[in-house]
Amino acid sequence: MKNLLEAQNLKAYYRLVGGTQIKAVDGVTLELRPNEVLGIAGESGCGKSTLAAVVSLTHNPPLNVVDGQVTANGFDLLTLPKEEARREIKGKYISVVPQGAMNALNPTTRIQSFAIDMLREHHPEMTKQEAINLARARLQELSLPERVLTSYPHELSGGMRQRTVIVLSTLLNPRVLIADEPTSALDVSSQKAVIRLLMTLLDEQIISSIAFITHELPLLRQVADRIAIMYAGKLVEVGTMEEIIFQPQHPYTRALMGSMLVPERQVRERRVEGIPGVPPDLKDPPAGCRFHPRCAQRIDWCTQEEPPSKTVGDRTIWCWLMH
């Protein structure tokens, strides 16, 4: 089957006052396949949220795409006229669960009036009652209380609000759902409920695939089929969940996995180490491999030339050690 969403050599920079640029996403090629959860992980400032914004067409100046392609459903998204993208793609083919979805809902209207607006925007022939019925049926299907529809956002708990946003985002059965840190503000029990909802959406084929952006690798261990690790605006390693979590090969992935604190024996029995140093300034990233200043295994090559990708099976690595 064809990929649902593809980014080719994507470069997206923030242009600052005075002309300097922050190279937040700098040459990323990545595809979202049908029926999968793709985890995109990395630390703050690695470009994962920027990538999510661009592929969901929600980026705004000063963030600009300077190079590359994004294709979905046979469209070249970056050259698609705004109005067409709005009608054909947004909410309909690609939908989003925003970062900090806590404030994503208009505070002064009931949930159902947003559902009506959203549905009728894409299906003008639908009546208000039909729209409400559809939303209600969806809530039932997903075992969420119907009262959500007549509530105002502030009347819902944080976890419930988050799940409501997810339901609203998927009302039109979009193929792709891009979820940017959808659980980072939630308690673990609410987090699990949100994850369960996302999995149900997949099982019921309401959506086909999820791009799940997070900094929490243990969470991706639970939900992801494949994982892409980003560092300083670039991909360093992409592979299946098992490969990334249990046999990481890139020194950064390995270090990152090594610094995870989970309540399990192995964490207490050895000394967990962090990564020395800090991520580079993306106004002026280091030459060669961007991880080299912090890498314990760097060789001469690393400081000079960017590592090319190497693919073995499902795994792709950008590291000189693999060549």
């Binding site: 029990s189 900094h215 604190l261 180490e273 800090v278």
Partner: protein, 272 residues
């Protein structure tokens, strides 16, 4: 973790450093009354690392604020070395009990340099430290937390990374060298790769200086990694307590069990 066991064994004979007795905090009044902390008692022994673990709204931060004397208990009392802390002079108490806060950004007054941030600590020492001594002490403590004083001392907070700021907070605590350090979510806003470094540093300090640390956190992984004992808090009450390994591996309380089941781990996959 031999140390932890040794501590546990010798606990019986030692005097607790801090005793919290029947602590209760009620906010608001009448119909709007909210009981944030209810009848909480525990003690911290010298040199011990414990974690007060709970989700948001569990009352853990309120408890920490009362221990730091940033908030008055409604009922109950707190004893430090056997003395009610309300009867101590603020400066005397804070010389021995200090804190590291959660947000490395709002912990710094952006109008002042690193130097003036650190020099605040000397107030607690009285005024017998000369400027030259102060400078030397600052440099020493910055070095201990892996920061270059030469380079950073006269920078403004906005020129520093979150990790650097948290290290400075530790350097500040070192200058005061308290007997008890309350670390309120010290790494929740810091990336995983820097987080561990900061936690390791705190653990080493505790070991080297015999300083007790109480982590206030929602992160079970962090609590488990760092602490000798855990106190699990839910809805204002402590629902379970005990040595970290026991609590995590054999939770007896229903809430603790559910909490542990909901935390994503690496070895087990959730049944969804």
């Amino acid at each position: 973790m031999v140390l932890a066991n040794a501590l546990n064994n010798s606990k019986k004979q030692r005097q607790p450093l801090l005793q919290v007795e029947n602590l209760t905090k009620v906010f608001g009044s009448g119909k709007h009354e909210v009981v944030a902390v209810e009848d909480v008692s525990f003690e911290i022994y010298p040199g011990e690392i414990i974690s007060l673990l709970g989700e948001s709204g569990s009352g853990k931060t309120t408890t920490a604020r009362m221990i730091l004397r940033l908030s008055q208990p409604t009922r109950g009392r707190i004893l430090f070395n056997g003395r009610d802390i309300q009867t101590m002079k603020g400066i005397d108490y804070w010389r021995q009990v200090q804190a590291i806060f959660q947000d490395p950004f709002s912990s710094f007054n952006s109008f002042y340099s690193v130097h003036s941030f650190l020099s605040k600590a000397f107030r607690l020492k009285g005024n017998h430290v000369s400027k030259a001594q102060q400078r030397a002490l600052m440099e020493e403590s910055m070095e201990k937390v892996g920061l270059n004083a030469e380079e950073l001392l006269f920078k403004r907070p906005h020129e520093l990374s979150g990790g650097q700021r948290q290290r400075l907070m530790i350097a500040r605590a070192l200058l005061i060298s308290p007997e008890l350090l309350i670390a309120d979510e010290p790494t929740s806003m810091i990336d995983a790769s820097s987080r561990v470094g900061i936690l390791n540093m705190l653990m080493e300090l505790s070991r080297d200086l015999g300083m007790s640390i109480m982590f206030i956190t929602h992160d079970i992984g962090l609590a488990y990694y760092t602490s000798d004992r855990l106190l699990i808090m839910n809805k204002g009450r402590i629902v379970e307590r005990g040595p970290s390994v026991e609590v995590v591996e054999n939770p007896t309380n229903e809430y603790t069990r559910r909490l542990l089941a909901d935390v994503p781990t690496l070895s087990k996959k959730w049944a969804l």
